[in-house]
């Protein structure tokens, strides 16, 4: 990190065929109050199969924007993204959606849940194929929400809703999991359940990128990045 001599800036690492996520020199600006602000400024990172990568840094440093670009959710101004060897921004919107549906598991930072669907159905919308509700119910049990499958999100606590978001991101067994603050609002026991699920995904061969304000060692991170003012630093 800029202030720590043990860190170095990372704008891209050598491309590897095996990388599930491979980003190079990503740049993204937003117009804020009529002024263009470069929120992500020449950033690169990669995530390998079976690897859990933690991305830390202060609020507003560009972590979520970077993750959105990595997940095919936000087109970068420049730079390249490859997910499982495919550039999500070089294909049509529908194919990009299909790519997300098949290989990316998104765990969003805000409570983006459908208020008219119960917990199991909210999870199951991330699943493609038959029997989604059954798979969702099983996953809910694994993250401590047994018996809550029929509950509407509006009647659940913030911690329970957070775990719903985690379950939805994992329900289709994605190759690449992008989790933005998956343990926010959770007590220690619930947070550990979520981390266990993320680690289990890694053990199953998935690559996981986690944005968090928690200590990286809590997640058993294989690599740790830190963002500050739109630039990425890798902790050595």
């Amino acid at each position: 990190m800029a202030t720590a001599g043990s860190d170095r800036e990372n704008s891209g690492s050598p491309s590897r065929e095996s990388a599930l996520l491979d980003c190079h020199d990503l740049v993204r600006s937003f117009s804020i109050g009529g002024v263009d602000v470069r929120v992500v400024d020449g950033v690169g990172l990669s995530v390998e199969p079976g690897e859990l990568v933690v991305l830390g840094g202060p609020s507003g440093s560009g972590k979520t924007t970077l993750m959105m670009m990595a997940g095919g959710m936000l087109r970068p101004d420049s730079g390249s993204v490859r997910v499982c060897g495919e550039d999500p921004y070089a294909i049509s919107a529908d194919r990009r959606a299909a790519l997300r549906a098949s290989v990316i598991g998104l765990i969003l930072p805000t409570f983006e849940l459908l208020p008219y669907l119960d917990a199991a159905d909210n999870v199951a919308i991330g699943y493609r194929g038959r029997g989604g509700r059954g798979v969702a119910t099983e996953l809910l049990e694994q993250i401590g929400l047994a018996g809550r499958a029929g509950q509407l999100p509006g009647r659940m606590s913030a911690g329970e809703r957070r775990r719903l978001l985690v379950a939805r991101g994992l329900v289709h067994r994605p190759s690449l999991v992008l989790a933005d603050e998956p343990t926010a609002n959770l007590d220690r026991e619930s947070a550990e359940q979520v981390i266990r699920r993320l680690r289990a995904a890694c053990q199953g061969g998935a690559g996981v990128l986690v944005i968090t304000h928690e200590p990286p060692q809590l997640f058993g991170a294989d690599r740790v990045y830190r963002m500050e003012a739109g630039r990425l630093w890798i902790s050595e």
């Binding site: 959105m68 959606a97 459908l114 991330g126």
Partner: protein, 364 residues
């Protein structure tokens, strides 16, 4: 959403039904103020006609068909009227035949309900009151037994002392088969461009109707005719405009609703749904709400017609509303509500589905 569709459909239905009822009422008003033309026997004394309320003399019933073939009036009503002794007093026995309509059309009759009264009579208010008669009573008239089918409310005219029956029954009672004393020609079809409809109709009919005279009660009928034409013109503009406004309101609301659901759509995109599938989900849901609202609106509109139609239009509205909701209205209300809501929702849904989900989720 469904609520707004219901209100829009109810408003349209209310307007259309009220307009329809108003048109019916206008026809009845025209009849009551003397209508357009009366074809009377040539020998009838008009002074006596206005004093007694009917014409002396007769015309052959066969002339009715001659007039009908000319298609000069939308409605023809054959009548036979005579003063007859009844108990200690007298009554005007009035036989009314089935209305004939121009060009084979089937219209709502303005003198309906008498043609099938072979064994029944309808009484004017004073004729009934004077004899203490009510509906369902049995009476004897000219040696024949009749049931009282209906007692009319007061009109303040000679009609209050009439006794109505079917033309056939009255011809039989009076021993005057095949004879009339009046043909009423209502709503003459002379077109707006004809400056003097009476002269025009006379020029058509007089050569064909020997032994008759044609009178027109007064100029008020003509004013009413022009007023009706004007009202119909306004209605032909106002009705589509109202329908268009309602459609715009519903589709606009569906559009706004679609935009408000951008975060939801963004979520669908984020979990990997295609734009087409998202469009189908949002549109389908809007369509279902539109159908529910449309059908609900038909019922609400009908309820409003029942509640305020009579007050707005006068007697007769309640009867028309009592005919109930038509199946075609339910079908059309549901179909139109669904299609308009779906069309309105589809555009913002597709736009949102094709936008970067990160942007959509932020609600931008």
């Amino acid at each position: 959403m469904a609520g707004v569709v219901a209100v829009a459909v109810a408003t349209v239905l209310l307007f259309l039904r009220i307009a329809d009822l108003a048109a019916d009422r206008t026809r009845i008003i025209q009849r009551d103020i003397g209508l357009n033309l009366r074809i009377l026997p040539a020998e009838a004394d008009l002074e006596a006609y206005w004093m007694k309320g009917y014409a002396d003399g007769v015309i052959e019933e066969g002339l009715l068909q001659t007039v009908h073939e000319q298609d000069v009036a939308n409605r023809l009503v054959p009548m036979l009227q005579r003063t007859v002794p009844w108990g200690e007093g007298e009554a005007i026995l009035t036989g009314i035949g089935q209305e004939l309509f121009a060009r084979g059309e089937v219209l709502k009759p303005v003198f309906g309900g008498f043609e099938d009264q072979d064994d029944e009579l309808t009484l004017g208010a004073i004729a009934a009151e004077k004899r203490g008669l009510v509906e369902g009573d049995r009476v004897s008239l000219l040696g024949h037994e009749f049931g009282i089918k209906r007692v009319l409310s007061r009109t303040g005219s000679v009609d209050d002392i009439r006794v109505y029956g079917s033309l056939v029954a009255v011809q039989r009672l009076l021993g005057m088969p095949g004879q009339l004393n009046e043909i009423r020609a209502l709503e003459c079809e002379c077109g707006e461009e004809v400056e003097d409809p009476e002269a025009w109709v006379r020029s058509v009919l007089e050569p064909l109707l020997p032994g008759t005279q044609i009178i027109r009660q007064d100029r008020l009928a003509d004013a009413r005719r022009r007023q009706r034409i004007l009202a119909e013109r306004v209605a032909t503009v106002a009705a589509p405009a109202l329908v268009l406004l309602a459609a715009l309101a519903v589709s606009g609301l569906a559009f706004i609703n679609g935009r408000q659901r951008r975060a939801e759509i963004g979520l669908f995109v984020a979990v990997g749904m295609s734009a087409a599938r998202i469009g189908a989900i949002i549109t389908w849901r809007a369509a279902v709400l539109g159908v529910v609202g449309g059908i609900g609106g038909v019922w609400i509109g009908w309820g409003l017609v029942v509640m305020i139609g009579e007050r707005l239009v006068g007697s007769g509205a309640g009867m028309a509303a009592g005919a109930g909701v038509h199946g075609s209205e339910i079908l059309l209300g549901g179909l139109v509500g669904g299609v308009i809501a779906a069309c309105g929702a589809w555009v913002p849904a597709i736009i949102a589905a094709r936008t970067d989900p990160s942007t959509t989720l932020r609600g931008e």
